[in-house]
Symmetry: C2
Subunit: 724 residues, 2 copies
Amino acid sequence: MNLKRIFILTLFLGLLTPEISLAQSKATWIWYPGDFEIYLSNKMQNRRTERGSFFPPFWKLDSHYPLIDFHKNFDLKQAEDVDLFVEGQYNVKIDGKAISGYPKRIRIPAGKHKLSLKVFNNASPPSIFVQGKTVVSDDTWLVTFEDKEWIDESGKASDQSGTTWLNAGSWNFNAAATPPSKFSLATTPQSAVNVVKNGKSMLIDFGKETFGFIKLHGLNGKGNVNIYYGESKEEALATETCETLDYLEVNNSQKRDSTLDLTKAFRYVNVQYDGNISVDSVSMLYEYLPVVEKGGFRCSDEEINKIYDVAKYTFHLNTREFLIDGIKRDRWIWSGDANQSYLMNYYLYFDSPSVTRTLAALRGKDPVTSHINTIMDYTFYWFIGIYDYYLYTGDKSFIQTYYPRMQSLMEYCLSRRNKNGLMEGLAGDWVFIDWAEGLSKKGEVSVEQVLFARSLEAMALSAEIAKDNAGAARYKALAADLKTKIFANYWNEQKQALVHSRVDGKQTENVTRYANMFGIFFDYFTDQQKLGVKQNVLLNDKIQKITTPYMRFYELEALCAMGEQPYVLKEMKDYWGGMLKLGATSFWEEYNPSKKGVEHYAMYGRPFGKSLCHAWGASPLYLLGKYYLGVKPTSAGYNTYSIEPVLGGLKWMEGSVPTPNGKISLYCSTNQIKVKADEGTGALKIKSKTKPTVKGAAVRSIGNNLYEIQINKGKEYQIKYQAL
Amino acid sequence: MNLKRIFILTLFLGLLTPEISLAQSKATWIWYPGDFEIYLSNKMQNRRTERGSFFPPFWKLDSHYPLIDFHKNFDLKQAEDVDLFVEGQYNVKIDGKAISGYPKRIRIPAGKHKLSLKVFNNASPPSIFVQGKTVVSDDTWLVTFEDKEWIDESGKASDQSGTTWLNAGSWNFNAAATPPSKFSLATTPQSAVNVVKNGKSMLIDFGKETFGFIKLHGLNGKGNVNIYYGESKEEALATETCETLDYLEVNNSQKRDSTLDLTKAFRYVNVQYDGNISVDSVSMLYEYLPVVEKGGFRCSDEEINKIYDVAKYTFHLNTREFLIDGIKRDRWIWSGDANQSYLMNYYLYFDSPSVTRTLAALRGKDPVTSHINTIMDYTFYWFIGIYDYYLYTGDKSFIQTYYPRMQSLMEYCLSRRNKNGLMEGLAGDWVFIDWAEGLSKKGEVSVEQVLFARSLEAMALSAEIAKDNAGAARYKALAADLKTKIFANYWNEQKQALVHSRVDGKQTENVTRYANMFGIFFDYFTDQQKLGVKQNVLLNDKIQKITTPYMRFYELEALCAMGEQPYVLKEMKDYWGGMLKLGATSFWEEYNPSKKGVEHYAMYGRPFGKSLCHAWGASPLYLLGKYYLGVKPTSAGYNTYSIEPVLGGLKWMEGSVPTPNGKISLYCSTNQIKVKADEGTGALKIKSKTKPTVKGAAVRSIGNNLYEIQINKGKEYQIKYQAL
């Protein structure tokens, strides 16, 4: 055979069987869906300390399933060698026949074959990484914890037996050498910006709120080193009341560098040491989740730009193994906090795994024994988070996998309705709503019913995706019935608002913002009711004010939804700008402008109890993207979307909003709008004194100085208009 | 103060506060009930291999809860130092106030105090060992996995919130240095009784069935060592078909002793090695659970004595971390097998922890997704096992702790009844009954309903103990209703028997032994029905014979209950004696006298598939104790009991039956009976031609040559009588 013949033969084979010339398929570590997330969240949530004491969560933590069966059917054009990496004890079967021992490489013959691995691991989730040329582990593999009888090895029986096979869970563990149990966030060294030495102590300032491992350089001698952390200088210096600290016993006979075991949140670190101890310097390893900023925002107002940047930093610090509440204190996954993080994420990172990891960790496993985080409203935010996740990403896989766990959690809720069919706190339920003085949780609180109704709507949508038609009809009917009850029970015609609660079957007199603001952007009100609520509640100073950025998120969203962007812009500058004026380098858990000095740092009855870097403080990310740039999906995954830019007093703004496979970029001044979108079909809505002009697109008047232009993907639109 | 005054003061204090002079209280490691059992059973059940391949169970395995709160309230006369040993990350609180760090010794002040520890451990069950003078960890501590909201630290709130606090689980981990995660069985070296060397192989005979780690002495050189295990010589020599083996790669530059990692069951070991390898000798480490023989049996028939001894050895080999099926193959916890082990245990070890460990491991956790071991009948045996446990031991604590898990498993069963209210195999259910050729599992099988009825009775009893009166009434009604259905649906007046099944609502013609034998000793039949069943089923050769010791257990029990001890004695000698004549050193999974030679070793289509050491082969332990010595409890925990000795053809017998706090000893010949009991009140029933005579007790005639003597504890009774 000469060279030419080989070439021709290769070419010929190449045409007939293109697979041969394909690059190696991409393998990733896989596991039972949710199990790695439960495992990792257990690790993360059990790292909280309070003044040196371990401070774990106070709700049920679940475990991974210790024994998992993985399989996939392959049809190979030619035999291939497949490398196996497994976390746990395992066996390997080809077509149901076990291979002796713990093989690291197997050969699968050409043809149709079923490859199965069964893995036991008590300590961390059973996981596999399978790497052949075409045979690779990924989320197309099926997994089961064997909820039902295994009948035989043919693969058919498993379906007959009712065994639940789910698609495997995965993330980004794309290297055999870095299995799930070895997960850690990225780190990078950072130096102090200022150090004040004072005898046997050092006060180190890292210049801004940060997070990571403190590193002591040139540590020498025998004795104690006490490290006091502060989000503020005052906290670091308050050795008796600072929230976090480390006590070290040192016994070094020569200089050594020591990195502490546990991460902490701080800007300032106060290092105090015994007479015999010396320390050359202190630095840190900054710890973070590598995520890509896909969205952005810039405008004519530098204060707003600064707010946006600090919000981004605040959000990044809280985007970690999971979307957590705050970096100093809890570092736990709180469903209500997380729900806002999901929304912010859609406008900054569009990082779906951060959302699904968090949803999975929050849900844990059956049986349901209490509300998520023990909080009734937090259970509802979990459902609402799924609704939004599908709307923004169009990804059905989470719902398909989690639908049974959604059902069991919803059954838990339905079984706890009172005799009026409403949710009311029972023994063991925490009705949270918000940190607000004197807020009543008694009886049937209206906002809980509103959130419950939205949860039922999320179930109806999810039931359709999971092809449970009977379920969809049932949840729809339940949602409709509950909405009827909400208006019958809480709407007060005189007050033009939903009242706060019913106690013993009677409306209370109190009106709060909560149910009313959700009612606006859930679109539960008539237009007239909306106007009534806006005037009588949202813009009414006599209604109790909200002091947490948590509920300000929804309050400002409701105002934006009612076209109050100029008002909200001013609020943003006052509230978030107010924190910046106090030197904030990240946004806080709570901010009350009427407080002074160190009063700002107190909360929960402790002088430094407040978190100065709280995810829910970052809401301008969401508000600016959704209600100023004005971009939001109108069908799942931005298949269709609307763009309704509102300057709200800004001279110009520009930015981009990420979509599943690209982004929507926008520039808007008072007379020009530029738009480009990578996918989907958009409806650009413009308020203009005159009919806008644009090349290559039709401008449709939709009345009331409002015009609509259809945005097709891939094309840049330049529109001239005159802002009203 | 002079010495005399000190003495008087000490005496005085001693009288006033006797606690001071008490010896140090006894501490033990504690955990959330069931969690250590789940953890250990996962480890044990995942040690099965089949020809070198890992062979895990094919049902859901659960995990321990990773985060547990432990607490107890103490009232201390004086302050004391308390040492803390913890498996996991933990915090310690006195009266709700956390102590910084991970303290190893704390001081609790005098007075009333609540001591709490909260422990996180993903890898093994959170466990604590607390050792002060009076403050010690034991099963009076309360534990929770925080199924409900934790409200505050006062201890009161937990009750209001509905948090479930259970008594801690414990076993015998009474030393701080040996925590639960370090559990291992005991081992002792054993030598071979015969070695045949043949070139580069050795066939080692350990003289009888045994279990443990093979140890290779003076192993040297580079190459492969293959070890083939055999319960029979034939199996060890059958390198292609033996059930278990080890392949070792050796690379020793000098002689070394190597103990293998995994235990195996064997009598013979065939060690084959490469040309470069040398081995001086082979021994073993016998591995076992240390348990005390509290019961015993000896009689005039040496073959029966030998059967009893081999049954004891068989049972001891299978009494391990848990009561397992057999030592060679599965080493799993099978509920049906275990139920017989419980009963044998009551007549040999009376080791309650072995029963409760096994029940706990079998039950695992909610949610219930399939029957125990996937087998419908095995779920029922779990309930029945609890019924018997309470009857024999009088211990309510298992039921008190497990009642919620009993309820959820029973709800699972009740939800799976068919439209006729009967249990019928659904998708995913394995209807096992017995290994028997052609046995139909179709439709509504009668024996399943009989076992289900008994399970409902167990629930009714347990509901009373758990003070669930409504539940007790409900389960009683359900049991009564089901028993009515059983007779309406299955009793055939003509055949004088329960038929095997109903298919499509119609009685089948087939009669099998199963439902009928349970009906006898569950006392579901009238006396006349019992006689009919005995003649037409049990003693009828035309009814399909039972070939497993498993169902022979119940068959022979039914015959004994009908007074057929002479027949059963002959059956024992034929069946168990038959195995002994074939050289058995332990009793088998199945024995069919009609088979020849190596045919005896085959099962499941594999030449050595049969287990030659199966717990269910040890049933003579139970039969001889309960139906020959004739001792059984008539109320919980031997508060009352009956002794009805039946020689069944033996000239004499003697033995003892353990009770919760002692034993009942008995000697019986044809004209003399001696009895002594350590507790309870017994009713000795004697069949005698003439009225028996006894010193110091009344003899009551109860008709039909039957006499009764009341046995009081602590006294030895010598009775003269004339056996009928």
